[in-house]
Subunit: 336 residues, 2 copies
DNA sequence: TTGAAAGCGCTAACAT
DNA sequence: ATGTTAGCGCTTTCAA
């Protein structure tokens, strides 16, 4: 069967020193040159690897941050994770990444999984359906909320101003003369999307554009439902001249629907999407999008979690609001 | 500061039983009803969470699989991880996901990190530059290779036949009458890409098409270098009529280059890409691609790792070769 | 059914 | 500079 793990005890025995000396050597504390050599040789020949689990049990430190995201399929979160990992790594921390697949029950389980793994901190983009649990855990383990911000949770957080993002998305279209504007949203799924939705509505109101519920499509964040919802809206006889699509994956779905119906962007339908600058550039025509600075978001989350680890969980709560960018492509037609 | 963790000892004390009884209760072993009640109540009021780390130290089981991928930015790996996580979860296992950002040094570190975390298994898409380390670890921890298969590593593995994939990609173009075909590759970076490259070359040879090194662009897997490489090739005076692009991210780069040069697909340039069926459908025109069945790959990796955990590391090595699909879009022009 | 006690691999006083 | 030892939170015999 598999080789059994080598322990420090065996290394110590082979090197002819005590287990404490090996531990000290591993910690970079000075040991006699001869011992150093013998320990190094023993470690090499035995193939010893320090058991970080046992170590952490004693030190109460794992140098590991648990990260929980809604899905591995959202490019947005993957980019955040990528920059977050960079940030942590540079400071001697690693990350263990989990996803809850947009399921609140699964989120609950994964929160336990991570918390019980003795991580030094938790970063979570929550459904908002497990606030009690997160609240409880956050009293024992430093916790930072990211992107999705459940109501009334007094914890460090990083996000953009989603209301404003929704507002600005609509405004881009309104300023180009559009008044018949549809929205593809998923307000039920995440507060992020709900706020964008609210911002969108507010922009219409502020410009005296009447809200037509029929022009608002609901999906579950993924591209296929967004495609169905878009197809429905775009097939109405009073078809909107423009669409705001409230996240990246749904933007993909909306474009699929547009293609399927044989419509042209922006001639037949203008579109303002969200996220993924790279891709917005290869889609023809280049998309006008609200771009969240994923790199900054990831780094900020990393900074907050390491800072929080040094402080009382109930003091100086920081809500970092990151500025989004507007990327102007060619997917919006000037009307009038 | 943060609340201190509640231990089993405290639960036992509050419930007026021994720590062993609490442990048994937690394991679902029968305890007296009255004790059961009191333990449950204590756990609830104290907010006790079992320390899985300490538990694992004793049981030598973590029900956790470590997964190491080259990057969080490759959609391909994220989809594999997603299906892998589903598979494991259904069987009581969790996954901790790490990335090494395409850096062999980082791969080495992350391998240690994961191995030292007492995971029950490791799934890795390796650079191929740390074979000794993987070899060593695999003798102590069940290990499965995925996608990228370093030469001569006798370990369980899952992948497609990349040589054949490269061959077929070229063949699609050849059969439509193309003889002036370019390739955007990254043969240095991963054996996967090298094999696709070799398959591509073989297809040209088998059809008596001369290989022009000038028509082979090298990048580092990401879209921006692929864009530069594509631009160069497409700016030569004897411009190829078609391009094979050996992975998804580079396909994005190639399309960016094509757009930038003002060329039309497929009128001016035909293209066969790799991966990401969803996206190939929203790009206009719909792309012809070689599609790797990510779901199957993830599940197969999950199955292999759980099987391997029960067996000797040196017996019955399985190399699972998954069939790829060819998705015909409209990005290839029929010549002549 | 329950509890006492040894020990998983490691660290950190403390003593030498 | 090194070794002895208690103990991190938990499981698991073994005896009661």
């Amino acid at each position: 069967m598999f080789d059994k793990d080598i322990t420090m005890r065996e290394v110590a025995k082979m090197a002819g020193v005590s287990i404490a000396t090996v531990s000290k050597y591993l910690d970079g504390i000075k040991v006699k040159d001869i011992n150093k050599e013998r320990i190094e040789k023993s470690i090499e020949t035995l193939g010893y690897r320090r058991n970080e689990i046992a170590r952490g049990l004693k030190t109460r430190k794992s140098y590991t941050i648990g990260v929980l995201v809604p899905s591995f399929k959202h490019v947005f979160f993957m980019e955040i994770i990528s920059s977050l990992e960079d940030y942590l790594q540079a400071r001697g921390y690693s990350a263990i990444i989990c996803s809850y697949k947009e399921s609140p029950e699964e989120e609950d389980k994964k929160l336990s999984f991570i918390a019980n793994k003795m991580v030094d901190g938790i970063i979570v983009a929550s459904t908002g359906k497990n606030n009690d649990k997160i609240e409880k855990i956050s009293r024992q383990i430093p916790t930072v909320l990211i992107d999705r911000l459940p109501e009334g949770m007094e914890l460090d957080s990083v996000s953009i101003d989603n209301f404003k993002a929704g507002y600005e998305a609509a405004k881009i279209l309104i300023e180009k003369g559009h008044t018949n504007i549809g929205l593809i949203s998923a307000a039920e799924v995440a507060d992020t999307l709900r706020k964008r939705h609210e911002g969108f509505i507010q922009a219409l109101k502020d410009n005296n554009i009447k809200i037509n519920e029929k022009k608002i499509g609901y999906s579950n964040l993924n591209f296929s439902e967004a495609m169905t919802a878009s197809q429905k809206i775009l097939s109405e006889k009073d078809r909107p001249t423009a669409l705001v699509v409230a996240n990246y994956d749904m933007t993909i779905g909306a474009i699929m629907a547009i293609n399927k119906l044989g419509l042209q962007i922006p001639e037949d339908i203008s579109i303002v999407g969200f996220d993924n600058l790279e891709l917005s550039k290869i889609i023809k025509p280049e998309l006008t999008i609200i771009e969240q600075p994923v790199k900054v978001i990831g780094e900020t989350a990393g900074r907050l979690i390491l800072e929080r680890a040094k402080k009382d969980p109930r003091t100086e709560i920081k809500h970092e609001v990151i500025q989004f960018n507007i990327h102007n492509g060619f997917s919006v037609k000037q009307l009038k």
